[in-house]
């Protein structure tokens, strides 16, 4: 398991890996928003928490695309399936590595990008907290989606279609908390819901993903 984790980290850090790319995508989406909705700063401030959450979500989703597909194509997944590691563990570890290489940088970058969108001064803390609580669920749900679509060429888009509806509760609570933070309201309730969802997802989703992967390898 540890070996797999570090291998995934190493692969992400080497050329062509995803480290930093998710971040850059996040940056660009956030930068494109003023171009598309216009530069009025009050408008931007109002939509800032939502845009940051949505941007983080899309960046996460995009980098999930090839989480398992690469290993499938070069046969490594078959080999892992005949190894002593349980497939549930494989998926969970891969989702963990994905979070470290994508989710974590997104969390750290979000406040900086908040400045670009005129995020209200009080909103930064809550934004970061909500992202820290929410992004692990995004990675894990995404790993389930990746496991579902692993055998399909050009599965990336299908994966988005399957995964995005599953992201809805996380997004709603996360963005709501960030918005309340920015407006100076109390964000405790949505944050609690968010934490609950993440915990449940982390506890149960690896089993669903493992089962799906086993079917796909068959």
């Amino acid at each position: 398991m540890r070996a797999l984790f570090f291998r995934d980290l190493a692969l992400a850090l080497r050329a062509g890996g995803g480290f930093g790319l998710g971040l850059a995508f996040f940056l660009i989406v956030v930068v494109l928003v003023p171009f598309s909705v216009g530069p009025a700063s009050d408008l931007l401030a109002r939509i800032a928490p939502g845009v940051l959450w949505l941007g983080a979500l899309l960046a996460c989703l995009l980098s999930l695309d090839r989480l398992l597909a690469v290993d499938w194509e070069d046969g490594a997944l078959d080999l892992l399936a005949t190894s002593p590691l349980p497939l549930e563990g494989v998926v969970a570890v891969k989702a963990g590595a994905h979070w470290v290489t994508t989710g974590l940088p997104l969390v750290l970058a979000a406040p900086v990008l908040g400045v670009l969108l005129n995020l209200a001064p009080g909103g930064y803390g809550v934004l970061v907290v909500s992202l820290v609580l929410g992004t692990p669920a995004l990675s894990m749900i995404g790993a389930f989606g990746a496991a579902l679509t692993v055998g399909i060429k050009r599965g990336g888009l299908l994966m988005s279609l399957l995964v995005l509806p599953l992201y809805v509760p996380t997004l709603i609570f996360g963005a709501e908390a960030a918005r309340r933070g920015a407006e100076g309201l109390d964000p405790a309730t949505p944050l609690l819901f968010l934490a609950g969802i993440t915990l449940a997802v982390l506890a149960l989703m690896p089993f669903a993903a493992g089962a799906v992967l086993r079917v796909n390898l068959r």
Binding site: L148, L162, P165, P169, F173, E176, V212, V215, N216, R218
Partner: protein, 243 residues
């Protein structure tokens, strides 16, 4: 003789061929009665005018859209636990019907919303959850279409259906939390006081019954088609193996 005997595709086909004409007939009759009664023999609402009559399409379609998903959930569970091909195919057959029902509900709702709320669409929790349900349907059908091996596809889609149900329910609560809405509450409760007026109510029941029967007829019919597709496949495979 147990019910599971009809899990055999051939028996199932036989049974459905016997039931289907009745289902078609009954649903047509119920729909005809309900719609004609509702459209021509009920008074206009004093506030909504004749637009209220959209209710005869909107409510049954909305009900069936949700129940179709529920049926798919049950069928998926049966497939996962007992691995009866018919139930997997029935789930597959129900999905497009569910999508159509969802679309009917969405469109009639939009047409109704324009005079009532002055807008085609609002991000009301009820409507929003419905839109999310629509997305789940889309994903489910897309996954079926994308996978070639039918058993693999059945396994994957049924797990997706289970996980999707959990998240759909979660989304429903999340959406409620996120926005309070404009839409009607449940008006078909047993508590008579809260019901829509009787004049509207009775034809509505006919329409609902008609939609339920129509749904079952469509699902049976489509399941039969799916079974025949699989049979053709099996025959072709046998031919290839002999060649």
């Amino acid at each position: 003789m147990s019910l599971w005997e009809y899990a055999n595709p051939v028996k199932f086909l036989g049974l459905s061929e016997r039931i289907l004409p009745w289902l078609w007939g009954l649903s047509a009759a119920c729909l005809a009665i309900g719609l004609i009664w509702g459209f021509f023999f009920t008074p206009d609402d004093f506030r909504q005018g004749s637009t209220v009559k959209i209710i005869y399409l909107h409510v049954p379609a909305a009900l069936m859209a949700i129940n179709a998903w529920f049926m798919m959930l049950v069928a998926s569970l049966i497939w996962i636990i007992r691995r009866h091909h018919v139930s997997a195919l029935a789930a597959r057959a129900a999905a497009p019907v569910g999508i159509v029902m969802t679309l009917i509900a969405l469109f009639t709702g939009a047409i109704w919303g324009q005079p009532m709320w002055g807008t085609w669409w609002a991000w009301d929790p009820r409507l929003t959850s419905f839109l999310i349900l629509f997305l789940f349907y889309l994903g489910y059908v897309a996954l079926w279409e994308a996978i070639e091996d039918p058993d693999t596809a059945a396994d994957l889609t049924s797990i997706l259906c289970l996980v999707g149900t959990v998240f759909a329910v979660l989304s429903r609560y999340a959406v409620n939390f996120w926005n309070q809405g404009l839409h009607q509450g449940a008006s078909l409760s047993l508590d008579k006081e809260e019901n829509v007026a009787d004049v509207f109510y009775q034809p509505l029941l006919f329409c609902i019954a008609g939609f339920v029967l129509l749904f079952f007829a469509l699902v049976l019919y489509r399941t039969g088609t799916e079974i025949r597709v699989r049979r053709t496949r099996a025959l072709m495979a046998r031919e290839n193996a002999v060649a």
